[in-house]
């Protein structure tokens, strides 16, 4: 059997494309969690981003407005979460769940008029170079700007957390809000900012799904990707570079599904669809078994409210 080398390149590229929303959402959530906040509303923020992006694109016709509008929608919806958990000191888990339920409902409500409308073509970069290098060309060239941004993001996030002063402040707030506060850092402000940033990235992840990957609006189209993104953050032990690896594995599982069906492997389609979820569980078990290692890498104040009496 002769395997066309460019075909292999195309498969890898499609795996990368399906990893993009996971990378974006996970990197956003990672910053939020590093500041000590557990936002379980990723799925809700993504779906809000998805409908906002698609609706704005259809109504205004501008892709730039649509992409930034989706990010803004993510910011707005995460503001509710930030206000509740930081100002009103509510439980992170319950508030995140409310955000997801609310997000799925309101996106379907807005999206009612956008079902069945075809998407627009999203411009790709370096299209002219597509046939230059065998194997590598389809991987490197001819993708949307969001695609390139997603693959740069883990490295940017890593640099931000390790090498910049603001990154250090975020980590300090997550690991010890009390001492950060004693140093004169406004813990609440930092956490607000990190939650809003997470919202923007989840919004972008959703917009990528509805505007570039699919591209159309389908109800509930995130289909659990938000939850997988949350699992990826644990998988990465809060290290952005490992998110890249994890997202590629899950992207791979999604793509394998299509190809196995195409070559006619006799496995029920439902089993293949369930694979990413089952693998997530297995991976979580393997990662968490070493409780000491998990404790060392988890932001110490994750999910705990911080309230300064004044």
């Amino acid at each position: 059997m002769i395997v066309d080398i460019n075909f292999v390149g195309l498969i890898i590229a499609s795996i990368m494309a399906s990893a993009v929303p996971l990378i974006l959402a996970s990197c956003g959530e990672l910053i939020t969690e590093r500041s000590g906040v557990l936002n379980l509303g990723v799925e809700g923020m993504m779906i809000i981003g998805a409908i906002s992006g698609f609706a704005l694109m259809t109504v205004t016709g501008s892709l730039i407005i649509a992409v930034f509008g989706a990010m803004l929608a993510g910011v707005l919806i995460s503001t509710i979460f930030a206000f509740l958990t930081q100002t009103l000191i509510t439980n992170h888990v319950a508030t995140g769940l409310a955000l997801t339920i609310f997000g799925i409902g309101i996106s379907a409500m807005i999206g009612k008029n956008f079902v069945g409308i075809p998407g627009k073509e999203f411009p790709v970069l370096f299209e002219g170079l597509k046939d230059t290098i065998p194997l590598l060309s389809p991987i490197l060239f001819g993708h949307s700007i969001v695609f390139y941004f997603a693959f740069a993001l883990p490295f940017i996030t890593s640099y931000f957390l390790k090498k910049t002063k603001i990154g250090l402040i975020v980590r300090a707030v997550g690991d010890s809000p009390e001492s950060a506060s004693n140093q004169g850092i406004n813990v609440r402000f930092v956490r607000y900012a990190c939650i809003l940033y997470g919202g923007a990235m989840c919004g972008l992840a959703g917009a990528y799904l509805s505007m570039i990957y699919t591209p159309q609006w389908i109800e509930n189209m995130t289909g659990g990707r938000g939850w997988i993104a949350l699992a990826l953050v644990v998988f990465s032990t809060w290290n952005p570079i490992k998110i890249l690896i994890g997202a590629m594995i899950f992207g791979g599982l999604t793509i394998i599904q299509f190809h196995m069906q195409a070559i006619g492997v006799r496995i029920p389609v439902q089993f293949l669809t369930a694979l990413p979820y089952i693998v997530t569980i297995i991976v979580l078990v393997v990662i968490s078994r070493d409780s000491r290692k998990i404790r060392l890498s988890t932001p110490s104040s994750l999910g705990k409210s911080f309230h300064k009496d004044n």
Binding site: L40, I80, L84, L88, I89, T90, N91, V93, A94, T95, L97, A98, L99, I101, F102, G103, I104, G105, I106, A108, M109, K112, G224, W227, L230, A231, V234, P268, Q270, F271, T273, A274, Y277, I278, T280, I281, L284, V285, S288, R289, S291, I294, D309
Partner: protein, 354 residues
């Protein structure tokens, strides 16, 4: 001037008042959303919350929807009280429905008084098996129960889909994704002629009574309460933490499984793709709105059940999208959590002194 002061002790009166406040605020916010969408707010709210339960049939439908919500929420309150975040009740419901449905299908051409009890038991066991997965992984492998229980929801729905399309599909069913009809002996009896409300409501009421007894009259209930406040204290007191985690998961799994049985042997009468309109997720809101208190949960399940009916009625009469139900559910939880602020803080009015 208004100043915010921390209360010395959380107020007990406000603890049970805030759910009412949350519902009230949700109605106001709902009216505003309807207005933005171009509907008359009061008319829309009337179609949403009053019209659906105005007659005998509507009231029966309300109880029909409240039954699974109440049952699941009672189970979840065991988990939430002891600080275990089981959010996969939807999966436990589905798996309970699969196991009990499978047993009911074994008896599809038989009649007998013994069939229904076996089917019900099978559902409870199915739910327990499914809930034991996150419980065991949490206790022995330190794995986050939130993510595991949630991932299992997707898996259970895919298993159900596989079964009703494939091996369990009705041989005379023209390839519709559904199983055979269960025999009459495997169906929960209807309570009134012409109404859909069925005997499953007694399962929910039994769960309410038993949970009240366990919470407030037994040592286990006390242990759960202490572990909910502080795991460290529980450890000092020498409670068997692992056993308790598994136990509360099994209880909530059994309740969710029973809710699944109630659906398939009650109104549905067979297995098909959608055995539950997300009752398992909505029940999380019911549990919180009911303050994890058995009696509170009864009221909360009735209130939240209206959002299901209201969404259907509003869709038929006013073409309001049916997802409004979920929007309302999310808002109730938002407002409830927000009004919890009043538990710990109070506003003090101070005359400006100059």
């Amino acid at each position: 001037m208004i100043k915010i002061v921390k209360r010395d002790q959380p107020s007990k009166a406000i603890f049970f008042f805030t759910p009412v406040l949350a519902i009230f605020l949700t109605l106001i916010a709902g009216g505003i959303i309807f207005y933005i969408l171009g509907f008359k707010p009061f008319e829309a709210l009337k179609f949403f919350f009053i019209v659906p339960i105005a007659d005998k049939y509507g009231f029966s439908e309300l109880l029909l929807k409240a039954t699974p919500l109440c049952l699941i929420a009672i189970g979840l309150s065991f988990c939430f009280k002891s600080n275990n975040w089981n959010i996969g009740a939807e999966g436990q419901l589905t798996f309970g429905a699969i196991v009990s449905g499978g047993v009911a299908l074994l008896f599809y051409d038989q009649e007998g008084f013994y069939i229904l009890p076996i089917v019900i038991l099978a559902g409870a066991i199915g739910g327990m098996i499914y809930a034991s997965i996150p419980a065991i992984l949490k206790t022995y492998f330190n794995t986050n129960e939130i993510l595991v229980s949630l991932m299992l929801v997707y898996v259970s729905k895919l298993i159900l889909d596989y079964l009703v399309v494939g091996p369990w599909s009705n041989p005379e069913g023209f390839n519709f994704p559904e199983t055979r009809q269960f025999s009459d002996s495997a169906r929960l009896p209807l309570l009134f002629e012409g109404l859909r409300i069925h005997a499953g409501i007694f399962l929910a009421l039994a769960a309410v009574v038993i949970s009240w007894f366990v919470f407030y009259k037994t040592y286990l209930g006390f242990q759960m309460k202490v572990s909910g406040f502080s795991l460290k204290t529980a450890k000092y007191a020498g409670y068997k933490g692992k056993k308790m985690i598994i136990l509360v998961f099994l209880i909530s799994g059994a309740c969710a499984g029973l809710a699944g049985v109630g659906e398939i042997t009650g109104p549905i009468g067979q297995l098909h793709r959608e055995v539950s309109p997300d009752y398992g997720f909505t029940a999380i809101i019911v549990a919180f709105l009911g303050r994890l208190h058995p009696v509170g949960i009864i009221f909360a399940s009735l209130v939240v059940a209206i959002t299901y009916l209201g969404a259907e009625t509003a869709q038929i009469f006013m073409q309001i999208p049916k997802y409004t139900g979920q929007v309302f559910q999310g808002m109730i939880l938002f407002f409830l959590l927000a009004s919890d602020y009043l538990l710990f803080f109070k506003f003090k009015f101070i005359g400006s002194k100059k």
